[in-house]
């Protein structure tokens, strides 16, 4: 998402995720040391995700279908497959639970509403494009046409000169990479499949498998 622009004497700045947790929410979570379930790896194939409903009580982040309704899920899952396809010996988005990770991570209080809006807007754009190409939705297109639809969105230039497709691609890829190369406690990278493929040796100490969605504990 970002070019490194700072020497490693000190940390590169955190990625520009413009939103943030409200101070109260952050304090509450940090003080309680509560693990935040940012993970939805338990969703099986047959699991029916509810349509998103405004009246759903705000439950644990990462609860099923919190971010995407079924249509959005299908569209973004298919898009993830095209952005980072699977091939023999080379895992792709579907192998690292990218869609489940994405749905859950967008509920993380430190991820901005803007990020959510960008990603959902992209799903709508792809579906609209698919309709224009004679399909009911993006997922129904064959892979080459899916790529063409993404390419149209990518090259679209808004009146103000901005490229909303670029922003969408950057955010999507950022989260796909988190699912691919992040610690498995966050719900992606099952069995460290991404690290194994890359030959990456993670730093240590690492979170234990039981520390799903961990955050550091504050002292007072």
């Amino acid at each position: 998402m970002h070019e490194p622009h700072a020497p490693q004497e000190m940390p590169p700045p955190a990625p520009e995720m413009p939103g943030g947790v409200s101070r109260r929410a952050f304090l509450t979570r940090a003080a309680a040391g509560a693990g935040v379930a940012t993970v939805s790896w338990f969703w099986g194939q047959g699991f029916t995700r509810p349509e998103r409903a405004a009246d759903v009580e705000p439950t644990l982040p990462g609860a099923p279908g919190k971010t995407f309704n079924e249509r959005e899920w299908r569209t973004l899952e298919a898009a993830c497959d095209r952005l980072l396809p699977s091939s023999p010996g080379s895992p792709g988005a579907r192998d690292v639970n990218a869609i489940g990770y994405l749905d859950a991570v967008l509920q993380d209080a430190t991820i901005s509403r803007h990020s959510r809006a960008v990603i959902l807007d992209g799903a709508q754009k792809l579906d609209a494009r698919a309709k224009g190409m004679g399909a009911a939705e993006f997922r129904a297109l064959p892979a080459t046409k899916q790529d063409a639809a993404i390419r149209v969105f990518e090259t679209f230039r808004a009146k103000d000169g901005s490229h909303p497709g670029h922003v969408w691609l950057e955010r999507m890829l950022g989260y796909i990479f988190e699912a691919f190369f992040g610690d498995p406690v966050h719900g992606g990278n099952p069995d460290e499949i991404g690290w194994t493929w890359a030959g990456h040796k993670p730093g240590f100490p690492r979170p234990k498998p039981s520390q799903k969605g961990w955050r550091p504990t504050e002292r007072t």
Partner: protein, 570 residues
């Protein structure tokens, strides 16, 4: 009577070192820190939590800063950002450094006298000399535990030291170190062995480095890296200092004369306003936020901000001038398939200091009358060599987005897969960074934004950070030397980041420069405010110029120097 002898605001490099020194001298010390207090041992090496969420810097939404960019257009425009926020936690951003600990060179204290001030710059000499700071560099080396090795160098490049060597031998090195040495020999340069604030063995109650892979950008779990959370805070606490995390200071209140601060007011973790009295106040919030606190502490006696009769608080913002690049050591280009350099060792520990000064033959100055004085040389900077940061998510993003040149769209699909395969399997990147002289001037400064407020309702810092033309040219010169070097080392596609020439946002200084004259400086040579008798600043704000190496070591040394002045008076 004041409850505390000293109230230290900010627990990072400048605050932590002062707090430990003063507490160990028997003073009653209170440390106020805006950020949370994390136990180092529980800071797991997790790229997402430590580097991709606001865990260690605070959120942009709650604590934004405003960055004025060239595209911002009309006055008042600016972008809300976290770009200049480097660490909001006990120990500050020093916890997240890589621990590069070379000293400034004697010339760095006298840039104006030796080289001349570039046109449209505000370069001045420091009011103290290298010799004044040398004992404190030595003390930091011993107390923090600096590891390194002295190598034979030409006299002009040899550190001027009062001790024959470092307290600790060098830490283990990546195999690229030997290749850097060989390349230096080939190019007629001198390989400078980089001193490091990382422990190769247990030292003074801290554990040795366990080479756990993720170092820079991460809090050290063994306390081997000498950030303030490891090196100073435990000492301050053991000597009786109190530490209050999640304490956001909103202003410093003086008596009617304005010459003495009587209390600091701060919001505690519940957002409740608290206050604390002390005999002396030490401010060390990093140069941008320190300026913000002083500018926000207005009163009848200080209508333009505390200690700001000169109008210079927030002016003369300096950084190290940024530049970096990398090249691909393509495995098939080497007889052993690159196996000899595919290593997880995180440290190379090599720099090139031969370009600390150079003849500006490559470019003309705009004003011939102000040609640099020292044998026609200008002050430039250093090259630092390091393995590419191991963070794999960041590495993958760089492949999709960061390295794009003509096509602004990120790579995806099969071209991305191919690129990732190349990046992770077919080559090992070697990286350089530059630490270039940043010439202060009217183009870089900090003020208060008139519209944007943080979660506490306080006006946020408004930052303009354009490089002086000479800084920009310097960085171009150094980046080109880096690219040549990597190419000579055998790397393919040696290339620079596009953003070279701008600020290294993590190395901030200059906003309260020190000097003899209250009209042209904010602090006196002891880093006490000219205008306020009991206010000291011990972060990098005091520095009129920033040398050509990272600042943390110099901030530590100066903080010890100033703390030893303070302890005489309270």
């Amino acid at each position: 009577m004041a409850r505390y002898d000293v109230c230290v605001i900010g627990s990072g490099a400048g605050g932590g070192a002062a707090a430990a020194t003063l507490a160990e001298a028997g003073k009653k010390v209170l440390i106020l820190e805006k950020g949370p207090w994390f136990d180092a041992a529980t800071m797991l090496k997790d790229e997402i939590v430590q580097t991709r969420r606001p865990t260690l810097v605070g959120s942009t939404q709650d604590e934004p800063q405003v960055h004025v960019t060239r595209g911002a257009g009309v006055a008042g425009a600016g972008r809300q950002t976290s770009l200049f926020k480097n660490g909001s936690l006990v120990g500050g951003s020093s916890n997240l450094m890589s621990g590069f600990f070379p000293r400034f060179k004697p010339d760095d204290f006298r840039v104006q006298s030796i080289y001349g001030a570039p046109p449209d710059s505000t370069v001045v000499d420091w009011p103290i000399s290298y010799d004044d700071l040398e004992p404190w560099y030595t003390k930091v080396e011993q107390e923090v535990g600096v590891s390194g090795r002295l190598r034979r160098m030409p006299d002009s490049l040899t550190d001027k030291r009062s001790t024959p060597g470092f307290p600790l031998p060098p830490i283990q090195e990546h195999p690229f170190a030997a290749r850097v040495d060989a390349t230096c020999e080939k190019l007629g340069l001198h390989s400078y062995s980089l001193p490091r604030a990382v422990l190769p063995q247990d030292y003074r109650g801290r554990k040795a480095c366990d080479y756990n892979g993720y170092c820079g950008s991460y809090v050290c779990t063994t306390n081997a890296k000498g950030g303030a959370l490891a090196a100073w805070i435990p000492r301050a606490l053991a000597a009786g200092a109190e530490l209050r995390p999640r304490a956001m200071v909103r202003n410093l209140v003086t008596d009617a004369s304005g010459r003495k601060i009587v209390r600091a007011e701060y919001y505690d973790r519940d957002g409740k306003l608290q206050q604390v009295e002390a005999r002396v106040f030490v401010v060390a919030c990093q140069a941008i936020e320190t300026a913000r606190l002083l500018l926000g502490s207005r009163s009848k006696a200080h209508p333009h901000g505390l200690a700001n009769s000169s109008g210079l608080v927030g002016k003369n913002l300096i950084f190290s001038t940024f530049g970096a690049g990398w090249g691909d050591m393509v495995h098939k280009d080497f007889a052993d398939g690159g196996r000899s350099f595919q290593s997880d060792q995180p440290f190379i520990n090599r720099q090139v200091h031969d370009y600390y000064w150079y003849a500006p033959g490559a470019w003309k100055t705009r004003n011939a009358g102000t040609e640099p004085a020292k044998r026609g040389m200008v002050k430039a900077g250093t090259l630092n060599f390091l393995p590419f940061h191991p963070n794999p998510i960041a590495g993958a993003e760089l492949q999709s987005s960061g390295e794009r040149r003509s096509n602004p769209a990120p790579l995806w699909g099969q071209p991305l897969k191919d690129r990732l395969d190349y990046w992770f399997h077919q080559q090992t990147p070697i990286k350089f960074e530059i630490f270039g002289e940043w010439f202060p001037g009217p183009q870089a400064h900090v003020g208060l934004d008139t519209k944007v407020k943080d979660t506490w309702g306080l006006p946020v810092a408004r930052i303009q950070a354009f490089p002086h033309e000479w800084s920009w040219r310097n960085s171009g010169f150094l980046v080109n030397r880096g690219i040549e070097f990597l190419t000579a080392m055998g790397a393919k596609n040696a290339r620079a980041v596009k953003s070279f020439g701008g600020p290294s946002v993590n190395l901030q200084a200059g906003t309260c420069r020190f000097g003899e004259d209250p009209k042209t400086s904010v602090l006196d040579p002891s880093c006490r405010a000219h205008d306020v008798d009991n206010l000291y600043v011990t972060d990098g704000s005091f520095m009129p110029t920033g040398g050509s190496v990272p600042f943390t070591f110099t901030i530590y040394a100066n903080s010890l120097r100033v703390a030893n002045i303070i302890k005489q008076r309270v």
